[in-house]
C-alpha cells in the first residue's frame, strides 16, 4: 500500500508539474515539449490503471504523432519567446481569471463530492487478458462507432489537405 501511494504521488507530482509548465512557459515550443512529457506520464498512469493497450496507444498517438506535429508546426512558424504570453485587458482579464477560477473550483469540487457516489465495492478483478477483451468489445458492441471513426478520419484527411491549400496573402490586413 505504501509503495503504491509513493508511486501515485510521484507520478501525480510529475504530471502536475509538467502540466503547469505547459500552460505557463512563454515559449510555445517549450510548452509543446512539456506537454509531450505530460502525455508520456499519463501513459504511465494508464498503464498502472490496467489499461496497457490504451497506454501504448497514448504513446503512439499523442507523444509520437500529435505532439511531433505540434513541435513541427511551431518550428515552421519560427516563433520567438512571447513577451506577453497571457492575454491582457482589464475587464476581460478579470473575467477570464474569475471564470477560470470558478470552473476549476467546479471541477475540483465535483471530484471531491464524488467520493461515495461509487459504492465501496470489493475490487473487481479484471480479466487476465484485458487487451483481448477490449478488442472483442471494440469489434462487436462498438462496431458502428468504429466504422464511423474510419469515415471521420477520411473526412479529416480531405479537410486538412483542403485547408492547407488556402492561398495566403491575397486578403492580408495591410
Amino acid at each position: 500500500m505504501l509503495m503504491e501511494a509513493i508511486g501515485f504521488y510521484a507520478m501525480a507530482m510529475f504530471l502536475v508539474f509538467f502540466a503547469f509548465k505547459t500552460i505557463s512557459d512563454p515559449n510555445p515550443i517549450h510548452c509543446a515539449l512539456y506537454l509531450s512529457l505530460t502525455m508520456i506520464g499519463l501513459a504511465g498512469v494508464f498503464y498502472q490503471l490496467d489499461a496497457q493497450f490504451i497506454a501504448g496507444v497514448q504513446m503512439i498517438v499523442y507523444a509520437g504523432a500529435v505532439m511531433v506535429l505540434f513541435v513541427m508546426v511551431l518550428m515552421l512558424f519560427d516563433l520567438k519567446t512571447e513577451l506577453r504570453a497571457f492575454s491582457r485587458g482589464l475587464l476581460s482579464g478579470f473575467l477570464k481569471i474569475f471564470s477560470a477560477a470558478i470552473l476549476a473550483g467546479f471541477a475540483l469540487g465535483a471530484a471531491t463530492n464524488s467520493i461515495g457516489i461509487v459504492d465501496e465495492q470489493p475490487p473487481k478483478v479484471m480479466s487476465a487478458n484485458i487487451t483481448r477483451d477490449l478488442s472483442i468489445l471494440l469489434y462487436t458492441k462498438y462496431l458502428y462507432a468504429f466504422e464511423a471513426l474510419g469515415i471521420l478520419l477520411l473526412v479529416v484527411a480531405v479537410g486538412a489537405v483542403a485547408v492547407s491549400r488556402i492561398k495566403g496573402g491575397s486578403h492580408a490586413r495591410d
Binding site: 511531433v68 506535429l69 477520411l154
Partner: protein
C-alpha cells in the same frame, strides 16, 4: 505498476549516463579561444544571416498530419489482428472480415484520394 518500475529506472539510468558522459567531455575538453565567429551558426563560411524567418515548406506539416490520421487507422488494426483467430475459430470469420473490410475500404479510398489530389507530391 511493478512492470513499469524497470522502464522508469532504465530511462533515468540512461539520462544520468548521458549527462555524465557530457560532463566528462566538458571537463576533458581542450580549451580554445571562444570567438564570436566560432559561436556563430555554421553556414559554409559565409557570414551568418539568422535574422528573418526560415521558410520551411508547408509539405512537412501536411505529411505529419496525414501521418497522424493513417497512424490511427493502423492502430485500429492491431486489436483486430490480435483477435482475428478467436473470431474465426468461433465461426464469426465472415463478420470480422466484413467489418474490417469496410474500414480498409475507407482507408484505401483515403490513400487513393491523397495520391490523386497530389497532396503527397514532393518536387
Amino acid at each position: 505498476m511493478s512492470q513499469l518500475v524497470p522502464v522508469i529506472v532504465l530511462s533515468i539510468f540512461v539520462v544520468i549516463f548521458g549527462i555524465i558522459i557530457e560532463l566528462v567531455a566538458l571537463l576533458c575538453s581542450t580549451a580554445g579561444k571562444k570567438s564570436a565567429t566560432k559561436l556563430e551558426s555554421y553556414e559554409c563560411g559565409l557570414p551568418s544571416d539568422t535574422s528573418g524567418t526560415t521558410r520551411i515548406p508547408i509539405k512537412f506539416y501536411l505529411t505529419a498530419i496525414l501521418f497522424i490520421l493513417f497512424d490511427i487507422e493502423i492502430i485500429f488494426m492491431y486489436p483486430w489482428a490480435l483477435t482475428y483467430g478467436d473470431f474465426i475459430s468461433s465461426g464469426l470469420g465472415l463478420y470480422i472480415l466484413g467489418s474490417m473490410g469496410f474500414f480498409l475500404l475507407v482507408f484505401i479510398f483515403g490513400l487513393f484520394w491523397e495520391v490523386k489530389s497530389k497532396a503527397l507530391e514532393w518536387e
